[in-house]
Assembly symmetry: D2
Homo-oligomer: 353 residues x 4
């Protein structure tokens, strides 16, 4: 079976580099080219790598970055993985979709578009149907987004609890990693020994996106779930892995064991279809008193291709009718490039590519 | 007017060192000696300093640490400032009080004792009356505690809002500094590039102490305030300054301007009595979109003696009937040694010493 | 006596901000305006501050940044303190000097010009004579540079040893702070938990500048000192304070006590003239086994105006005919803005302004 | 072929944990037990792990730590890998050797013993002969040490240069990682945003050990190489990977290409015997202007079992008759546990086990 030709946009940034990582030796996809702005034309991929925990193949390291050219790209590939900044992503991704390209993107530009899904295969695989209502669908082109990195991190636990117990209120505070801000991103003088309690539009995104992700879809559009999300977001001096504290009002009163089992037993279509980048266990529950921690848990997930694709929950507690826990997920893998690669795998498995 | 003779217990730790700092050239108090465990007997104070932002006087630097000896100390001083670990503090402080010493302590051991106040002069100065019901009062000895560092940080904003608007629910997540764990405290291998979402008993302390602080006192004992506090606590790689995210349910619906004014206009007995270590403005409200930050705001407060005694609030927002903000305060000054020094100043001003 | 009107160029960067700090309430100088690129026009100085250890006056905080306009500046001020990038500094400073302005600059652009001194008042005050040979001297304008931050840090100890014992070889490795790279400067993804063993042209600068600083001057030009300097430079995740390891071949064989005394006893014209920003003791020698450390020693120096203007030497050792020590100095105070302010003070005291 | 039974001493520390990692699925060795002090008796190995970059097998994670008992251990195993502190290692390792155990140790206690080798298979495999002169050899027991982590890091490049060009003087400054100090090791208050220019006895060790490693051995004992080493050692806030700056006086004047080739072409007996943990290329030379860096290069080495066993050299420069470079190696793999495992592999291959 021949592989599907794909391109990576924004290949020089932290998300783009994670796309390249996830696509190395991929069973479905074959990377046609790595693209970025003109400034990077001709640079070796190896010279821009800022990923500390993955060793790229010699071939990948030697690949030359090329300047994005929408016409050429749309002729050469069926799928584009996009890690470009949101302002650029808006028009670029629309144009690619018009030209018949299936766009799987980490950018926020189209996330709230009427028929564009924020897809997480474990949660809302049927939202993929929304692409049929996109104007460009006739050309074979469409846009599928992965959620914001902070939303993704907690979406699976929230879904598991919504399914089992009902979910009413979510109070979340984030401890977000530096890689979420791209490169060069956060200046070191702001990061070393400090916390910055502000990430532009992040709280608003979380409060809106989670309701869309956990809600329903019909041809009339998306119907947000009736869940109140209240977010406070901050940046901490951690390289990879968003930690989030959760205080939750559920619709019923499970024991901590029941709650824990609902999380660790959670499975979705990504698992039943055995998608290549899907983790066997999407939510790892840790019993230690001091986990999850970014440096130990960011790369949770097996098999190997799914490292960084599981989220980790820990410190599950109950107090005065509320439940509390900490959840961690990898912001540029599950919460970024990995999310979109998994979405494309779902599309392949469902025959939508 | 002659000064009151005081001793510092646990002078080698981060809290003890802040006691020494706050007591340098103090208008009311005169340091008789610095005490610690036998292990430190004879060491120069200068050799144990781990404070990065204060220059101690040559005399202080050259002071020799002495081994704690309760009999001698109780003969020599009227007041003890205690920065010793909680397990040691329990019996030690009781014994000192029995021997007629006024103990102002940062330790948690006696905080929930029936007639021991958790005192914050801006909030509950009348709780000082509780000492009259302590068994040791006849000898002139008693115990007064400052709150846990995380509780203190938000107590003044909570009090200001309770006073003006009523306060029903407090959802708080902490971003706590390393100095809160003492020295050697958190191993660097756990801290660098990491967050640890666990601080032993911290969440329980916050949930209980804040209700006691904000509640009432009568001879029958303390009556906790009817405020629900839900806390998630984590340690971040910051040296000084606890940042906390707050989501609040108030009893009424002030505008953001009214809320901000209630905070910045908050004053208490510490201010009306012009206590030496009291900040002119106890709650600094910052308008910038990305403040408070530990490295810029931990030392908020004026005059000079009150640096680190004000807390800073910022990012005040409203969403779906809840109010959100970030609050920062210095965990070893206002939330530690400074808190107890201010308490002792209140006692002096009220004629209780 | 009326003060001399001065302007600060590049006021939004770390060096520029330190200029503003050093010039607050300065006995000789009065700040006419803070200048930067057009991008910052109209911003409050308070909104760009990235200094963690100094509290600016309310007036300074509220000052509005203005766009650099050479014509206007040269009409309004006698002195310019320049913290602009080197490529911009080249033509800008030349033009200012042509228009009669005395330029004291941190930029490297003119440091190796034939008659431009790299001035350190403790070391080579007579190099100030070189300005008389600058082409612009007739107009009253000239350029005086402070040394590169890494060179400055060790220049005083090297001078003290050269004077007393002769100095033949200097093997130096640097542990340089992040603030030396400006703002935004080093991306946090490169800094957290990492060391970057490369700072563009830094080693070359050290090897050339130190010889010029320690050498002689006659109307024919500068005569570099005959001292071999071998440098290895690296960036470490420290906010302020360059630490440097030194291995030295001296011309004679002093005892460690003699060496230590030569350092701590070192004084120069800055001290004899009692310049306002000159530290009483330019080289602080510490006896502790683990000092100097950036977080404790970067701000060495007294009186208050000279904080950060002394360098600190420690761990003085001897082995196989070589001497070893660590030296620390503040890279944006003594090694940056403070250096140029001290130079201007020398010029004032010598009647050259 | 049955595997050789081995025990790990000090299994709870950073070095011990790396021993466990290196011995997972080892082709020669089979781990009989993990040992530590009585304090850790019965703890799951999984609960003490502080390694961020290796995922241990489920079986390893569940292994219970046992209290060291020399009698029992010596009956059960042929080989002990020792990661215990030096003061304890002295008597413990002697006793084990007396009882017939082959001890491969990271501890410094016996490194300078008359017939104990500091073995690096790429450099001095014949030093293994020295064990025959150890008093305990008759019992089958002996002690073999790996070098101090800082010495190891540069030993292979120094050997390569000594072989090809002669080596006269080595000026080295270290940027050492936190994991080198064990756990809890360096307190975070000393590490965050700081550099500590002192590591007890480290400089002395480097200056003595390197001469022994690079020297000769005859039955009369070790003959140190005639190479002057001058070291300055400092601790930086990096988790793993010692970076070291080198300034070198060679015996001849190779071009930079010749020097680079001598390094990258260096091979030793570890490679010719294809020892399991030996890197194919022991010295990786990087051409980038800003490498090696701890976060990217600490785990250099292939095949997979040899990750962290290669050192990386970069920024090779020449100036005034000296050569300069930066070298990085993994302090707890090549410079610790990995070094001793490689030594034991050499012994196995040479038939000495």
């Amino acid at each position: 079976m021949s592989k599907i030709s794909v391109a990576v946009l924004g290949a020089t940034g932290p998300i783009g580099q994670r796309f390249v990582q996830m696509l190395e030796d991929h069973p479905y996809f074959d990377v046609e080219g790595l693209y970025a702005s003109e400034r990077s034309e001709g640079r070796r991929f190896g010279d821009v790598i800022k990923i500390r925990d993955h060793e790229f193949s010699e071939e990948t390291v030697e690949t030359k970055i090329r300047t994005m050219d929408i016409d050429k790209i749309s002729k050469n590939v069926r799928v584009v993985f996009s890690g470009i900044p949101s302002d650029l992503a808006g028009p670029t991704e629309s144009e690619l979709a018009k030209k018949g390209v299936a766009v799987f993107t980490n950018a926020g530009a189209h996330r709230m578009d009427k028929h564009v899904p924020i897809l997480i295969p474990e949660i809302n695989p049927d939202h993929s149907e929304s692409i049929r209502q996109q104007e460009t669908y006739g050309s074979g082109g469409y846009i599928v987004t992965n959620a914001n990195c902070s939303s993704t991190g907690i979406a699976m636990p929230l879904c598991a609890m919504e399914n089992e117990f009902g979910l009413e209120q979510v109070f979340v505070s984030t401890y977000q990693a530096l890689s979420g801000a791209g490169y060069p991103g956060v200046p070191s003088l702001d990061a070393v020994g400090n916390v910055v309690p502000f990430i532009d539009k992040e709280e608003e995104k979380m409060e809106i996106e989670l309701a869309k992700i956990l809600g329903g879809y019909s041809k009339a559009g998306f119907e947000p779930a009736d869940i109140m999300v209240m977010a406070n977001c901050a940046r901490v001096p951690v390289v990879d892995g968003h930690l989030e504290s959760l205080t939750l009002k559920l619709g019923s009163s499970p024991s901590l064991d029941e709650l824990s089992s609902a999380l660790s037993g959670f499975r979705g279509e990504a698992q039943s279809l055995k998608l290549p980048s899907a983790p066997d266990v999407p939510i790892v529950v840790r019993a230690e008193k001091d986990r999850p921690q970014p440096v130990y848990d960011a790369l949770a997930g097996s098999p190997k291709r799914a490292k960084g694709m599981a989220c980790t929950a820990g410190r599950i507690r109950e107090s005065k009718g509320y439940y509390k826990m900490f959840v961690l997920s990898h912001n540029t893998l599950r919460g970024g490039a990995g999310g979109s690669v998994l979405n494309a795998e779902l599309f392949k498995a469902r025959g939508l590519l």
